[in-house]
């Protein structure tokens, strides 16, 4: 872990979000120091993805505050929010590649928008990024022509394009085969170790958790019910946590 002695990368206080009468997050407090890899566990539909979307400002919370690098992002004008978004890489659950663009163009999208690189530099950078996720052979394919796992890897390359300081990863390995899962986990781990990237990873895969997590938080009914390392959670006496860890490790 890299410590700058700076402010935490992400600090969340009293975060609440509901859709209609359904409260999804009900008072979340969370601090993620720079360089930490935090995994968020919880059953499907407990607001894990919503948490990530709130952090990057795709949704607005009902209450609470979110500070990124010490700057409050709730209610921030879009122009300033976008400055922060450029420092964050976001991998969507279904990768969310742009259908109308090739794999290479997808990865080039943030570079074309936010850097002054010329076409050659962009091509080099795209090739480098795609090589890092093992997709260098498929640069000219359209997203419709590649598998779900490949889409995830391209999505990851796109998220890494601008050298983000924070990565928000929504189930980076869900639905992937064990080998690809391990590769992606190693990639995320490498980013954390080499570049000190702070990551928040939403996942269901306890094996990935073991590989990646410096710390784990577990969500249930909008609250954080457990927090700590993998072993701490394994020893938890809370019936929900115990059941979750037990069911997960049986896979």
């Amino acid at each position: 872990m890299k410590e700058n002695g700076d402010k935490p990368a992400v600090q969340i206080k009293g975060l609440r979000k509901s859709f209609g009468r359904q409260t999804v997050l009900d008072g979340i407090d969370l601090e993620v120091p720079q360089g930490e890899t935090l995994t968020v566990l919880g059953r499907s539909g407990t607001g894990k993805s919503v948490l990530l979307k709130l952090i990057i400002g795709l949704q607005q919370p009902d209450a609470g505050s979110i500070e990124i690098f010490g700057q409050e992002v709730i209610g921030l004008p879009v122009a300033e929010l976008n400055q922060i978004r450029k420092r964050i890489g976001f991998l969507f659950q279904q990768a969310a590649l742009y259908d109308s663009l090739t794999v290479a163009e997808n990865v080039a999208f943030p570079l074309r928008r936010h850097t002054k690189m010329n076409d050659d530099e962009i091509n080099d950078r795209v090739r480098e990024l795609l090589a890092r996720v093992g997709m260098e052979k498929d640069v000219q394919k359209m997203p419709a022509d590649i598998s779900g796992g490949m889409k995830k890897r391209v999505g990851l390359a796109r998220a890494l394009a601008l050298d983000p300081e924070v990565m928000l990863l929504d189930e980076p390995t869900a639905g992937l085969d064990p080998i690809t899962t391990e590769e992606i986990d190693e990639l995320i781990q490498g980013l954390n170790q080499e570049r000190g990237i702070t990551s928040i990873v939403v996942t269901h895969d306890l094996l990935s958790v073991r590989r990646l997590a410096d710390r784990i938080v577990m969500l249930k009914e909008g609250h954080i019910v457990a927090e700590g390392g993998l072993d701490e959670l394994r020893r938890s006496r809370d019936p929900f946590v115990a059941e979750f860890m037990h069911a997960g490790s049986q896979e």
């Binding site: 059953r43 400055q83 978004r85 279904q94 969310a96 742009y98 943030p110």
Partner: protein, 286 residues
């Protein structure tokens, strides 16, 4: 009962599935369905907000010129064959119908003028708008709808790009710019095929036909009628984007977005035509 459960299930998928939630979702869905009047006004309210956001995105830099050109190609160039064909067909029909009617009054000699006037003033613009609303309205609705449900719009926003500028403003502007040009193409094709259809039954040279036709057509006939299609373009682009961006509920929702975009934009085009024609008559032609 089985059907009802099937309807509410998608709402519950994101949440903890329990008996209580299903009941809540069912009652929420029921209230929604029972209130078409409220839904109607909500729709207009949302459209108003949408317009405000669109204007704000359209007038502030940076401008997405590259995407605008791409959309002008997509909306304009690719609609060209369809619009040309529709215009040509209308030209033939006008010639056939009008010739017959005029012959009854012994006024067959004004046939070219009637074809010109009716194409330029009304048939050309409205046919172009309806054809484009079918092709482009559905296209925009389905494209933005599928981008919405697959989180591509979120992805654009997350990478610090304004989707309103990139997707909405460019499409609406492209539709507004291209419709008058397409209308002129439809007018031209209709005029040419109008002559062809006339020529088959009587000896009228093309030169004579054009001369006669233009004799009584002024810029006051051409310009307002052509420029009113800018409004049609606005409506087609606006409704297509609006319906696309409010898509909910997976692939089924995408289909609904495409259909509703076509239906609503065609309807709005026809209603707007009524108003615009009245405005043109009152302010320009009196």
């Amino acid at each position: 009962m089985a059907r009802r459960t099937a309807v509410v299930q998608p709402d519950c998928r994101n949440f903890r599935i329990g008996q209580k939630n299903i009941v809540m979702a069912a009652s929420a869905a029921a209230t929604k369905e029972r209130n078409p009047v409220q839904a109607f006004f909500e729709w207009f309210g949302e459209l108003g907000q949408f317009c405000v956001r669109l204007v704000r995105a359209a007038v502030t830099p940076p401008f997405e010129l590259r995407e605008l050109v791409r959309q002008m190609d997509e909306i304009g160039t690719r609609s060209l064959p369809l619009v040309a064909l529709a215009g040509a067909a209308i030209g033939v029909v006008l010639s056939l119908h009008t010739r017959d009617s005029l012959a009854r009054f012994g006024a067959k000699s004004v046939l070219p003028t009637v074809i010109f006037l009716s194409l330029i003033r009304e048939s050309g613009p409205i046919i172009t708008a309806l054809v484009v609303s079918g092709r482009v309205g559905a296209g925009i609705g389905a494209e933005l709808g599928s981008m919405k449900v697959t989180e591509q719009i979120d992805a654009i926003e997350a990478s610090a790009v304004d989707p309103w500028k990139l997707l909405v403003a460019t499409r609406v502007a492209a539709a507004m710019l291209m419709l008058p040009l397409l209308t002129i193409v439809a007018d031209f094709c209709g005029i040419v095929t109008g002559w062809v259809a006339t020529r088959i039954v009587e000896p009228l040279t093309f030169r004579h036909y054009i001369q006669q036709g233009f004799e009584n057509v002024t810029f006051d006939d051409l310009l307002p009628a052509t420029f009113k299609t800018i409004v049609f373009g606005l409506l087609i682009g606006l409704i297509g984007c609006f319906q696309g961006l409010r898509t909910r509920g997976g692939t089924e929702g995408v289909g609904r977005a495409a259909t509703s975009a076509v239906v609503i934009s065609s309807l709005f085009v026809i209603l707007a035509d009524v108003v615009l024609v009245q405005i043109i008559i009152t302010f320009i032609e009196q």
